[in-house]
């Protein structure tokens, strides 16, 4: 009981004003493939992904996904996500909803000077909540994850490296039935907004000054059995507007088990803390 109370006190402890993706002067845009290493009030609606052979060889998949995250305190957020998927296998079509997933995330660290963020998350895919004819898992899968982000603005001797930032995740997917898998990935991002505002204005213009070229990578390695590692490498661009972000990435499978051909993904992402700063865009308890 005492431990629970202490944990609750930690979660609800007040913290400095903090919002989507900022660590000091570093802004981390919301990434499409990988979970972000910060808590935020945000809405990804929709994320559209087109792939061939992602789950089954030869099958074309179109997926529409939504994600909504809400800060409960300035350091703690809850999230829910779902997806509708359409599969086409040589003219035979099937569609339906994937299992709903819920998640909780806690901001462990924000070091403004070092442009470093660290978070811990627990996501749960709720078994049996999707369309049964899609052969969705009927039991839960738990995925505890550590997430980090680091900007290189402190690399004072390497001017053009300062806009660089990396984020990463490391977790384990633990199904109630079946084998666990290591889930890991990273992003490498070059922030043109950072270059423009904090390093050197090279005259790119307003549109370019809002772009972040990015490469996202995510992999899954089964911890038991003989199955191979699967994953994709996603190079693309993120455009960060004042309260909306638009992203577009190619989806390159790392092997045949991960997909047949190069696909693509696009996302419309809303920064709710900027759009609704006095209502749903702020923590419930501050």
């Amino acid at each position: 009981m005492r431990v629970a109370f202490a944990a609750a006190a930690l979660v609800f402890a007040s913290a400095p004003a903090f919002a989507h993706g900022y660590a000091g002067q570093r802004f981390f845009p919301a990434t499409i493939l990988l979970e972000d290493p910060f808590v935020a009030d945000e809405l990804g609606l929709p994320t559209y992904t087109h792939m061939k052979g992602g789950e089954e060889p030869g099958v074309r998949e179109d997926e529409l996904e939504f994600e909504f995250a809400k800060r409960i305190t300035s350091k703690f957020a809850l999230a829910i996500e779902g997806a509708w998927i359409h599969e086409n296998d040589a003219g035979e079509s099937v569609d339906g909803f994937e299992n709903i997933a819920v998640g909780a995330k806690y901001q462990l660290l924000v070091d403004e000077d070092a442009e470093t963020v660290l978070a811990a998350a627990l996501d749960v895919e709720l078994g049996g909540t999707g369309s049964s004819h899609l052969d969705v898992e009927d039991s839960n899968t738990y995925e505890p994850t550590l997430l980090f982000g680091k900007g290189f603005g402190d690399a004072s001797n390497a001017t053009y490296l300062r806009p660089l930032a990396v984020t990463g995740v490391l977790g384990v997917a633990i199904p109630e039935h079946g084998d666990s898998a290591l889930v890991y990935g990273a992003t490498l991002q070059y922030s043109l907004p950072y270059l423009h505002a904090h390093v050197k204005d090279v005259g790119l213009g307003d549109f370019m000054n809002n772009l972040t070229p990015i490469v996202e990578m995510k992999f899954e390695t089964p911890l038991d059995g003989d199955e191979r590692t699967t994953g994709t490498v996603n190079p693309g661009l993120l455009y960060s507007g004042q309260s909306v972000q638009i992203g577009f990435e190619a989806v390159i499978p790392i092997n045949r088990e991960s997909g047949d051909t190069v696909g693509f993904t696009a996302q419309l992402h809303f920064y709710l803390d900027d759009i609704f700063p006095e209502t749903i865009g702020k923590p419930l308890f501050d």
Binding site: Y22, A197, H198, I275
Partner: protein, 128 residues
């Protein structure tokens, strides 16, 4: 097949309506990002600038600005705001009390957007 198309169309419609509604509801405030600066980040200027200007992406509280310019010898440059400066706006303007000597200057700022979000930043420029 017909049903799946209808459901697909519905989901697209819901997304589009939600997106439009949110765009329409987007007010003109948010996190303040530095859009333009004079002198600009990393600039090398031949003539010592007498004015400093920082333009932000949204309105900020001009009564709650922290701004410093530190010169090559570590001395802070004395700055003064324009007369009759508004309480809020997108641009900070300051005039240097004296001509800037050659060397590297570091500009550091911290502002509060009118909806209450703090942002901060820093950059350097050089005077030949």
């Amino acid at each position: 097949m017909t049903f799946s198309r209808k459901r697909s169309a519905s989901l697209f419609s819901i997304s589009a309506i939600a997106a439009l509604a949110l765009f329409a509801a987007t007010p003109a405030f948010a996190h303040a990002a530095l859009r333009n600066a004079v002198p600009a980040a990393g600039a090398v200027v031949d003539q010592p600038p007498t004015k400093l200007s920082l333009e932000f992406s949204c309105a900020i509280d001009l009564t709650n600005v922290e701004l410093s310019v530190v010169g090559p010898a570590g001395q802070e440059v004395a700055l003064s705001p324009p007369e009759g400066e508004a309480k809020s706006g997108n641009t900070i303007e300051r005039t240097a009390a004296a001509a800037l000597a050659p060397g590297r200057y570091k500009v550091a700022w911290r502002v509060l957007s009118v909806d209450g979000h703090h942002t901060r930043g820093a950059y350097t420029f050089d005077v030949k």
